[in-house]
Symmetry: C2
Subunit: 137 residues, 2 copies
DNA sequence: ACTATATTTGCATCATGACGCAAACACGCA
DNA sequence: TGCGTGTTTGCGTCATGATGCAAATATAGT
């Protein structure tokens, strides 16, 4: 199954000359940029809920979390469900109480993967700030 | 200026009993959750522009980037300006051409800082999935 | 089965954002 | 100075999302 002949070379290919050409180039960053995740984290109210649950270090019920902010409990319910769909929180029902907890490991992994994907694309210093913009380099 | 007496103890304090109490607790995650950054990355069109510029590995002009997607160049101009305001891209004017480049280092640093902030809040395994939800623990 | 509590859902409202088009603007060059 | 190209801005339109309230639903306990 694994390649037995030579082994994939870990060399960094020359970057595409233009952004248009970059479109066709596959890179780890393609899978690491998750719009749904970022959208879930793009609202201040949701971020405050995430911070509360994160700092609490345990699963929190909808009602509990609703005490952390000024919006209606129905709004909190919707926010938490959205965060769970995006993978930020896990959800578990215990009786009539629904408890949401931070997905510590999964989140950290996603963030590290994205950082690594970005790092792998970082060019030599002389190119990073763009010596030219006409595709000559 | 720096504390000369004892040195801040690096011990992990017991987490707040309820999310409501967590509100008053300061933690690195408070500064690491940047809604503006996440909002900038929450749009699919913008993400495709970011990926193009990232893979290209150099500063790209507005016109160049506009060739990467199907939206109007004016829309691309707005997207890139927004990404620059959020710290995702750097912007530099060269004559009448405006070139945007990925902020590789700054982005990676933000992502790592957030991951570290999350990691620092991760509780012992038995607590993470919530043994109770009434503030008893 | 009835009741109380926890959560979700339907609906209306208001704000924000993505988009295209056209006009305005900026700047290098003749 | 006038022209051409690259970029931004003004404006209207359409879609999406955040919010609150009330009603519906779920479930534990009596």
């Amino acid at each position: 199954m694994t390649q037995t002949r030579k082994r994939a070379r870990p060399v960094k290919r020359r970057p595409p000359a233009t952004p248009r050409l970059a479109l066709t180039r596959k890179a780890p960053i393609d899978g690491a940029l998750d719009a749904e995740l970022f959208r879930a984290l793009s609202d201040e109210t949701r971020l405050s809920l995430v911070a509360c649950i994160a700092k609490c270090g345990r699963a929190c019920s909808v009602g509990e979390v609703a005490l952390c902010c000024s919006v209606d409990v129905s709004v909190v319910s919707r926010h938490l469900a959205l965060l769970a769909r995006a993978g930020v929180l896990s959800v578990r029902r215990r009786g009539r109480v629904v408890a949401y907890a931070l997905q510590y490991d999964e989140l950290c992994e996603s963030l590290h993967a994205l950082a690594a994907a970005i790092e792998s694309l970082k060019p030599a210093e002389n190119l990073s700030k763009g010596a030219c913009n006409d595709g000559c380099c």
